[in-house]
Assembly symmetry: C2
Homo-oligomer: 279 residues x 2
Amino acid sequence: MYTFLNDSFVPDDKAFLHVSDLSIQRGYGIFDFFRVMDNYPLFIEDYLERLYVSAKEMHLKVPYKPGQLKSLIFELIQKNNIPMSGIKVILTGGYSPDGYQLADKANLIMVQKPMNFPPAGFPTEGIKIITHEYLRDKPHVKTINYVVGIWIQNKVLEKKAADVLYHYKGEVSEFPRCNFFIVRKDNTVVTPGENILEGVTRKHVLRLAAKKYKVEIGRVTLDDARAANEAFLTSTSKRIVPITQIDESIIGEGKPGRVTNDLYDDLVALELNEQAKAR
Amino acid sequence: MYTFLNDSFVPDDKAFLHVSDLSIQRGYGIFDFFRVMDNYPLFIEDYLERLYVSAKEMHLKVPYKPGQLKSLIFELIQKNNIPMSGIKVILTGGYSPDGYQLADKANLIMVQKPMNFPPAGFPTEGIKIITHEYLRDKPHVKTINYVVGIWIQNKVLEKKAADVLYHYKGEVSEFPRCNFFIVRKDNTVVTPGENILEGVTRKHVLRLAAKKYKVEIGRVTLDDARAANEAFLTSTSKRIVPITQIDESIIGEGKPGRVTNDLYDDLVALELNEQAKAR
């Protein structure tokens, strides 16, 4: 398999950065991640748009124009031929002269890895999640900073949970790598609007939901979450996953909900449609 | 020059990490940094103690016992022979199997670089600093996360300032890489006690100050800072630097203060004493 590094395709096991890179020195970089389905990068335009926004916000320059980068991604997909996979694009602060200043040139890495995506079909069981008070730095930018998310993994496992939902002073934001939704008793689909990264899956789910349900983007408290009829998370690699327990509270009837299921089906249909359009 | 990487001394320009390292993938790692003066690592015990505390807090295992690591540091100093320099020890989350999970083995990097330390003699001019509202993740741990500190450098330069002081809701904490002190009108030396990294220089300055002045570790607001008689920062690489302007407010008489100067002289004397003891 190949990894793309700055200006060339190198074998996976030959993709190295010098230790003066600002990601190693100061955790400084941005990234994005998208799914490849049957060798097609799903919703690639959305992810590329976000990548350039993240780069700009963090004073980093993507060394290619969007069209060039997209071509390189298609070349990577062709070279590797891993039909069901994920591609991560990382842009770091580059080789810093003093370990603090941004380098003139960012380092660009594109790694493709096989992934087992959730099998087609809505999950028959929901997950348990825990909550943690934490306000992310620059939540609207996809930086590589996951210090708290990784640090807390021990506790997630210890509590036999699948993930951890951040809140700050009782107001819910998101998971380290997923967005959060609730469905109120009147079937309104609600997702937090502040202190979050705007997920691509979140965006599509919101659009799909708006066709059938009342949709709200706004404040969700821990109490709102616990009192919801349904709850679910969205992410690039997991699509939609129903949540049936938050800390010690059972959500709704303790099983995946009808609206969640409906949105899941609509999302899978949208993905298939997107792939078909690309042929 | 040599860099120590995991288990061997490698030429500086050959020190690389594979892109699967969790610092590159997720900004996950800790570090410490100390000064080498006349080939002696100043206050090395303090820095090593903090390194092991940071590692433990972040679920990372230093691959050597403190005594072994200290020997390796002395070997690095001997090999490189850069009498006035800085050594940075970085411990990352290691080569992660999935780009999120901590690896079984952390990656250890020790880089030595020549440094121009401030010339002996108390600065005749103070610096201007700006302020920024920000609450660090895990401020008490020396993680490699400097996303905000580096991101805001543009603004620091634009405002012709030397550094940026973090506060949260008006309560001052620290600089990205330095601690903050004020001297009240009654000569009490005060430094924030919460949401900070406990600097080694801060610790020594507090001890020195306590011999001559009233010392307080506690709440410092932006108003307190602006109303102070003197203000200064402490750091490993800068010792003590007087601050004469915070945003648009002039501090005290707008020149380096008497107490700051006194503490600076005491710190230099302590350093010389420490070096002499080591001979």
